[in-house]
Symmetry: C2
Subunit: 181 residues, 2 copies
DNA sequence: CGATTGTTTGATGAAAGTCAAGTACCGTGG
DNA sequence: CCACGGTACTTGACTTTCATCAAACAATCG
């Protein structure tokens, strides 16, 4: 059970034709794969996006800790439910939202998670190591289409995105774009 | 923590514009909402499709059982991982597969789950209470498009679907249609 | 029987994918 | 220092997939 200490990673599944779907981005503080607590064989793979440092904990030891310590169990439960909730949101996004909404929501979700952990580089600004093909694989789109929609966001001055840095320039309008339905 | 005894139900999220996304179909033997084990407040809602009977277990009692009994813990872990795996598959389907593939995979998944539980009405035949709008809400499509693709499957004699009963006529070809990429 | 809900079908439109060409940005080696 | 290659990004033309709209039909139920 590794936990990310620094850097970004992703977990994804690969399909037969070479396309892939990213299940989640892993930020500092995230448990790489909470399902590993139960199931040793992973169903997806994990890949570093930036240089990543992590610490690994062993399952048996964690189980002992959890059995002995109710607050550890609660912490574990929080991780589980949070992960579950994020998976459900992704299902809704992929099933029922437009390309622009999916991209905007992905960005907002990442910014919020970094804010919670105090990893921002400004009020609404973060280091943003994702390539457009990462965004495409996470939102179920093509890199070309992602490029067009990001250009559109820039043209409307909702975000600034350059040199691996992202800022939300117009939070209200950008949130609106993320919630159009 | 209710468990379905008979009938079909669904869990879903509703969006602001009235469209909805079905997260999973609940068949006899399914735990309605494993996340309820941790989190009392549900993030989605549950709805009956047919007449449903269920038994409810209370969280506190289950926790005691799990703490005392390692095999109960293992059973719980199985439910959790299975649910997680199904969520991941749905993400991949919605993100990276065509409409026809999504529908075929949904049907195959349901048939397999009923087979595991011995709830089939024939070798490759099941009672099928879903309306086309259920299929649409589960696959992120419109009912109209679902109708067209089901007609296509029928025309190619891959399935028979009438009077709330479904049979897979050509398993090999139907599986191929579910796995085109 | 009428009313409601579900399904089919066709015509049309919008969203996203594909293809292709061109640009910018490195890192490498001469 | 600059040429070279590779990767990422941009942009436009065109195609495909799926949504929308509308009309007709079928089934179900009070």
């Amino acid at each position: 059970m590794p936990i990310i200490c620094s850097g970004w990673a992703l977990s994804a599944v690969m399909l037969a034709d070479g396309s892939r779907q990213i299940l989640s981005f892993l930020l500092p503080g995230d448990v790489v794969s909470p399902c590993l607590m139960f199931e040793p064989k992973p169903t997806c793979f994990v890949e570093a996006i930036t240089t990543v440092t992590y610490r690994a904990f062993d399952r048996a030891g964690l189980w002992q800790l959890v059995a002995a310590n109710p607050s550890a169990m609660e912490a574990m439960a929080r991780v589980w439910t949070q992960q579950r909730r994020r998976a459900e949101e992704l299902i809704v996004d992929l099933g029922r939202r437009s390309a622009a909404e999916r991209i905007a929501r992905l960005i907002l979700g990442l910014v919020e998670r970094l804010q919670e952990r105090g990893l921002t580089s400004g009020p609404l600004e973060i280091d943003f190591p994702l390539r457009q093909h990462h965004i495409a694989d996470a939102t179920g789109l093509t890199p070309v289409h992602v490029s067009k929609l990001l250009s559109e966001f820039r043209r409307r001055e909702l975000i600034r995105l350059s040199e691996r840095s992202l800022a939300i320039l117009d939070p209200a309008a950008f949130r609106a774009a993320a919630n159009m339905r």
